[in-house]
């Protein structure tokens, strides 16, 4: 029951938001609404912990002749993703209050719609539902970027839309193909889809279609070119939603669909895919070193990080899979934190260009500290959340192949290089004309960071809560591989 | 044997007229040759013991349609040569294409071994009585609808033919 509330609540909130007029009312309403949503998610979490997760299952007939049903539920992995989504959305909303967006009702309504679609993706236990929500996320994302974005937004969002849409169409094809391979009566129920009997060739094709969809969404090198532009152009909340949550859909999809359905093909093609991912890690990291725009730098760093996660999924062992799950959460938190910090710098100085900034730490020590913490999480310093994920991922990859692990491990060096470079050039040094008048973040703005900082250290210090929730289902997923 | 001669005669006449429709320089000659071709085809209908069709054919084609053509030619005073014939290579390609189509069609039909299930000479289905029964029994609604079609066509033709710009 909680599951369906989690989906419907943001939708209802979103629709009601449209009726509100004043910006203040919209803000209060949206923020409290998203916090309530998070509360529901926490309730689901507690319920999940204390009882079996069948309580969270919701089933209703929809197109019963086609075997499509409204089936939503949560296992450990979805639960973590839902927690991440519902946790980040209030933070994102709160952080966006420092800006005054035109047509606030529509803007926040779209954010809530996005939340609803994302929760839908993570809780769908039916292939067609998964696809529908998957595509549904594109609509608010498109409008947020295309209406409130920066320079050249139309071209860039158009590319983003078409690119990811093409990918998801392949996924639809794969799902339908899979549907016809299910035992009679055909059904989109994920258990039925898992039980589809596939020849190796069919598996390879379905693998390819799924991979294309997810690789574009994640994005894995070389399908990433939409990403830096889109992250750079989007308004800050849009970038956060895209980078913090939306790209997790791709990895989640890999775990949810590819591993159980086409693991043979995955194992067969894993060397190529991991090679791609590892190339992407190094490639994006190297490119990030010389970026001049902070958002773009973070965008490239994100490609490197998610490349590691993708490689981790493909090695198909519990460490890496666990690492991927926990790193999805960590990466979402860290990158949202970084984007918030960048947004606050941009709001105060009007610039995101690294070479134009400097000396912010003297003017805004609080901002410098939180930025440092986000950065440390992002470069995977031990006792921050990033370390747990990267440690497990690299360990898993190491078990698979030592060479890949060594190359992928370069990310810990490169991430230090570009992150410290950015930190040094923007935060440290002397102030200049642009940063001279800079003020520190206000306490209300700091509030947006506090949950993130708490999560960074919580996961870093004691990841057990999160690891234990996901572990049984990670094992279940991996059991499909062993069978 | 006699019917065979008639068949060949009618066929040759129809084909010759058809060729002449194309070969004539003046549209009026084309129309006249077309009329000849229609009569030859009407003969074929008779040969097939489809009297009803033969009659309708003569009325509709040789009567109504030909008159329409003639009127158009004459009213518009189109009875002159084409101002600039198409270049040779276009004609050539057209002939090749048409010839290929013909060869393909003949090639297809040659491949089929179609057995005549019934002798057309003794077939009674082409008689007005039989066809009328079927037409007013099985095909009543299409038949009635065809009158609507005519009405539509008439309205359309009138509208199109009006002087004023629509």
């Amino acid at each position: 029951m909680l599951t369906i509330i989690l989906i419907l609540l943001p939708l209802a909130l979103s629709l009601i938001t449209l009726t509100l007029k004043s910006e203040k009312a919209v803000r209060q309403y949206v923020l409290s609404g998203s916090v309530i949503e998070f509360g529901v998610a926490v309730a689901a979490f507690i319920q999940y912990k204390t009882s079996c997760h069948c309580n969270l299952l919701f089933t209703a007939d929809w197109l019963s002749t086609l075997g499509v049903s409204l089936k939503f539920g949560m296992d450990g992995i979805s639960l973590l993703m839902v927690m991440l989504t519902t946790f980040l959305v209030p933070v994102i909303i709160l952080s966006s209050f420092s800006h005054s967006y035109s047509k606030p009702a529509v803007f926040y309504s779209l954010i809530l719609l996005m939340e609803m679609a994302l929760v839908g993706v993570f809780t769908a236990f039916d292939g067609l539902m998964f696809y529908i929500f998957w595509e549904l996320t594109l609509i608010p994302a498109y409008f947020i970027c295309a209406v409130w974005g920066g320079n050249d937004r139309i071209r860039i969002t158009f590319k983003f839309f078409i690119y990811t849409f093409v990918g998801s169409l392949f996924m639809l094809v794969a799902l339908i193909c899979l549907y016809f391979k299910t035992p009679l009566p055909h059904s989109f129920d994920y258990h039925w889809l898992y039980s589809a009997v596939l020849t190796p060739a069919e598996q390879a094709w379905i693998f390819a279609a799924f991979f294309l969809a997810f690789a574009i969404k994640i994005p894995i090198f070389p399908f990433h070119t939409w990403q830096p532009d889109t992250y750079t152009t989007s308004p800050a909340p849009g970038s956060m939603l895209l980078a913090g949550i939306m790209l997790k859909m791709g990895i989640y999809g890999m775990i949810r669909w590819m591993v159980p359905v086409c693991h043979n093909a995955m194992q067969l093609y894993a060397p190529f895919i991991i090679t791609l991912a590892v190339i992407g890690i190094v490639y994006a990291s190297v490119i990030a070193i010389r970026q001049s725009d902070m958002k773009r730098l973070v965008a490239y760093s994100s490609i490197a990080h998610v490349g590691l996660i993708a490689a981790g999924v493909f090695v198909l062992n519990p460490y890496a899979m666990q690492g991927a799950v926990i790193q999805m959460v960590s990466h979402g938190i860290n990158i949202v934190g970084l984007f918030i910090a960048i947004d606050m710098i941009e709001k105060r100085t009007g610039s995101r260009v690294i070479s134009e900034l400097g000396g912010i730490a003297t003017k805004a020590p609080r901002l410098a500290v939180v930025f440092m913490i986000m950065m440390l999480g992002s470069i995977a310093l031990p006792l921050t959340n990033g370390f747990i994920g990267e440690f497990l991922l690299l360990l898993g990859i190491f078990e698979y192949s030592k060479v890949f692990a060594a190359i992928a491990g370069l990310t810990i060096i490169f991430s230090a290089v570009y992150m410290l470079w950015m930190y040094q050039r923007t935060m440290l040094g002397k102030t200049n004309g642009i940063t001279e008048e800079m003020t520190d973040i206000t306490w209300t703005e700091t509030v947006a960071f506090i949950p993130l900082v708490i999560m960074i250290f919580w996961i870093g210090l004691s990841p057990r809560l999160f690891l234990d929730v996901a572990l049984p289902d990670v094992m279940t997923v991996l059991d499909y591989v062993r069978l | 044997m006699f019917t065979q001669y008639i068949f060949h005669f009618l066929s040759i006449m129809a084909l010759f007229s058809a060729v002449m429709v194309l070969a004539s320089k003046k549209p009026i000659h084309s129309v006249l040759f077309l009329t000849l071709a229609f009569f030859a085809i009407a003969g074929h209908y008779v040969l097939l013991n489809a009297q009803f069709l033969a009659v309708v054919h003569v009325i509709v084609y040789a009567g109504a349609i030909m008159v329409l053509f003639l009127f158009t030619v004459m009213l518009l005073n189109l009875n002159k040569d084409e101002r600039s014939p198409k270049p040779m290579w276009v004609n050539f390609i057209a002939f090749v294409a048409g010839g290929m189509l013909m060869l393909t069609l003949i090639g297809i039909f040659r491949g089929y071994d179609i057995k005549a299930a019934h002798d057309p000479m003794i077939s009674q289905i082409g008689l007005v009585k039989n066809l009328g029964k079927i037409l007013y029994h099985d095909y009543l609604i299409p038949f009635e609808l065809s009158s609507v079609l005519f009405l539509t066509a008439m309205v359309g033709a009138v509208l199109l033919g009006k002087k004023e710009q629509i």
Partner: protein, 635 residues
């Protein structure tokens, strides 16, 4: 109870960090100067309690705190290990750390970032304690990276200066290169032994054959980590730059504790290393090369802190040589005495810099002996100690390493002795130039000259005392000593010692002879330095002077920084640019956009088929019909 004491040791510095870090704006300096050193003092006291009751604590050496990461068979508890080795390190870290904290109260008094400084310092001690106390490799790695972070923060403490920030960044990144090696080594340990806990790994390692490739790989990877952290060739260039930080930082982090982490880690994993003779050779050669290399650079440096930095690298090299020769106790002994005398030297240098108003070039010093008597005398003690003159601490520790080296290989011994001679030379050069003869600085500086306050000189004296008598903890048999440290650490190295073949012990007469040779050389060097820099006064060349090739090479630090810049930084930046501008924008993005453009282009092109010529349409149509029919025939 015992568990609590153990846990509290790192908790105090962490608390200090949290208090000072969260309230860095509001806490008055007075309070900070109590909280900052106070937390370390508490840890030190607890360490002493542990030390004096160490039998109780080492009965069950591993103290579990809470489970940290657990995934299937991977189980990493947050646990501490208390054994003689970690107690020794704890004593050094908290003891020297406390002294340096006290010193910093005086040294940093005027700095606006006073609170921030102590917050970082406390965080550093916390990380270092984790590193030392960790009962498994990942916990050690937490500390390992944590100290790297603190080093970064403290080197770039004066963050308005981008040069300093560059130095900080360099230190962090070079450390990270090592960390990657450490991390991979850890993974290999896990895949080999199925655990990362010291006790389990070492217990299993005991039964491994000597020289198995996997152990060699593990030890080499771990050694990469040690190379990064302990500034050995080729990853040493960050340490001289790290002198950008405040001097107490150099003393604590870049002399006494953090840089010795590599030595500690190898000593900790001694069983693995004993099993990998190939790695031991690599370590020995690296250490020896570093020792000589850094010492030779130090001879021609003029910055007081840079000299000490190269000296540190060189001394670390000695420790690694010791490790390579299997003298784990010797290395740890040298680590301890080095912590004393190098911290002393750095703090003394800090006192000098403080007095000179920030001047660091020894060419502008001179004659400070009379102006800064306390600093001079303590500095002298440190110099003698590092030069290896008996009976100060440096003599004993260095001698122990040299002796082991001699047992190992005479050639290596000879090279190491050469390094020791160079050490004596450059240290006395420093001493003479800074403290003897006449003052060469500006009048303003002369006017400013003053002895440091007692809050700074007292730590100097404490450390001088330690540097003087620190050698007593391990007086060898030769001098009728009890080798207390050896027996104290013996349990840790017992397993390793049992595996490795005991070298043929040299006779006492040989030992005497070795000592005599070394000592004679050192004294000759000291005299040579005296002759050259005090008598003749020709050691002072301004920056622009033409010098012979060798000297230019040495004073240019072998141009390694420039080489790295040319070989790594520049190509990396170039590659970054290439990948972004050519591969990314011109190739991949064009490919993607090309896919879109092909659609547009196709549409644009096929549009022209729509000629408007009806005849053409009909022709196409008929062609289509023909094709359909034709395929009909075929099928």
């Amino acid at each position: 109870m015992m568990d609590y004491i153990v846990f509290l040791i790192p908790v105090f510095p962490l608390l200090g960090f949290l208090i000072l870090g969260l309230g860095y704006r509001s806490i008055p300096k007075k309070l900070t100067s109590i909280v900052g050193p106070g937390t370390i003092l508490l840890s030190f006291i607890l360490t002493l309690i542990v030390f004096f009751n160490f039998h109780q604590f080492t009965n069950s050496p591993t103290h579990h705190l809470f489970p940290w990461i657990s995934v299937g068979p991977l189980n990493i508890p947050f646990a501490f290990l208390i054994d003689p080795l970690s107690i020794l390190m704890l004593l050094v870290v908290t003891g020297v750390g406390f002294v340096i904290h006290v010193y910093s109260v005086g040294y940093m008094k005027e700095d606006p970032g006073f609170n921030r400084f102590f917050a970082y310092m406390n965080l550093f001690v916390f990380s270092m304690l984790l590193l030392v106390m960790g009962a498994n490799y990942p916990i050690m790695f937490i500390g390992w990276e944590g100290v790297g972070l603190c080093s970064y923060l403290l080197i770039g403490f004066w963050f308005k200066n981008q040069e300093y920030n560059n130095a900080a960044k360099k230190a962090f990144i070079m450390n990270r290169i090592g960390d990657l090696g450490f991390l991979l080594g850890m993974f290999l340990i896990f895949t080999t032994f199925g655990s990362m806990s010291f006790d389990q790994v070492f217990a299993q390692a005991k039964s491994m054959p000597v020289g198995s490739p996997v152990v060699v790989a593990i030890t080499l990877l771990l050694f990469v980590g040690a190379v990064g952290k302990s500034a050995q060739i080729p990853l040493y260039t960050w340490l001289p730059d790290a002198m950008a930080g405040p001097t107490p930082v150099s003393a604590l982090i870049h002399a006494a504790t953090m840089v010795t982490a590599g030595v500690y880690m190898i000593a900790r994993s001694n069983i693995l290393y004993v099993l990998a003779p190939a790695t031991m050779t690599v370590i020995g050669i690296t250490g020896l090369a570093t020792a000589i290399f850094a010492a030779s650079i130090a001879i021609f440096q003029n910055d007081i802190k840079k000299i000490l930095a190269y000296s540190t690298i060189s001394q670390l090299g000695y420790m690694f040589v010791g490790l390579g020769a299997g003298a784990f106790t010797g290395a740890m002994f040298h680590l301890t005495t080095h912590a004393f005398f190098k911290a002393l030297l750095f703090l003394g240098a800090g006192s000098v810099i403080h007095a000179m108003g920030g001047e660091q070039d020894i060419r502008n010093m001179g004659g400070l002996r009379s102006k800064l008597p306390k600093t001079y005398w303590t500095f002298l003690v440190g110099t003698i100690a590092i030069a290896g003159i008996p009976p100060l601490s440096g003599f004993f520790s260095k001698d122990e390493i040299l002796l082991h080296l001699y047992e190992h290989s005479v050639v290596m011994w000879a090279i190491a002795v050469m390094g020791a001679l160079m050490t004596a030379f450059y240290m006395f050069r420093l001493l003479y130039l800074a403290f003897f003869k006449n003052f060469r600085g500006t009048d303003e500086q002369l006017h400013h000259l003053h002895e440091s306050p007692s809050v700074m000189t007292t730590p100097l004296m404490i450390l001088a005392l330690l540097a003087a008598v620190g050698g007593l903890i391990n007086i060898p048999e030769l001098f009728a000593g009890g080798s207390w440290l050896s027996s104290f650490l013996a349990p840790v190295f017992a397993d390793g010692a049992a595996i490795s073949l005991p070298p043929v012990p040299v006779s006492h007469s040989t030992e005497w002879m070795l000592i005599a040779v070394t000592l004679a050389g050192c004294i000759a060097m000291i005299y040579f330095a005296f002759h050259r820099f005090v008598k003749q006064d020709n050691g002072l060349q301004p920056d622009g002077t033409q010098r012979s090739g060798v000297v230019r090479l040495l004073s240019g630090k072998y141009f390694i920084d420039e080489l790295y810049d040319l070989l790594i930084s520049k190509p990396l930046l170039w590659l970054s640019r290439f990948l972004h501008e050519i591969v990314e924008l011109r190739f991949i993005d064009r490919l993607v956009n090309g896919a879109g453009n092909i659609v547009v282009w196709t549409g644009n092109t096929l549009r022209y088929i729509q000629t408007g010529n009806v005849g053409f349409y009909m022709f196409i149509m008929i062609l289509g019909i023909i094709l359909i029919l034709f395929f009909n025939i075929l099928i």
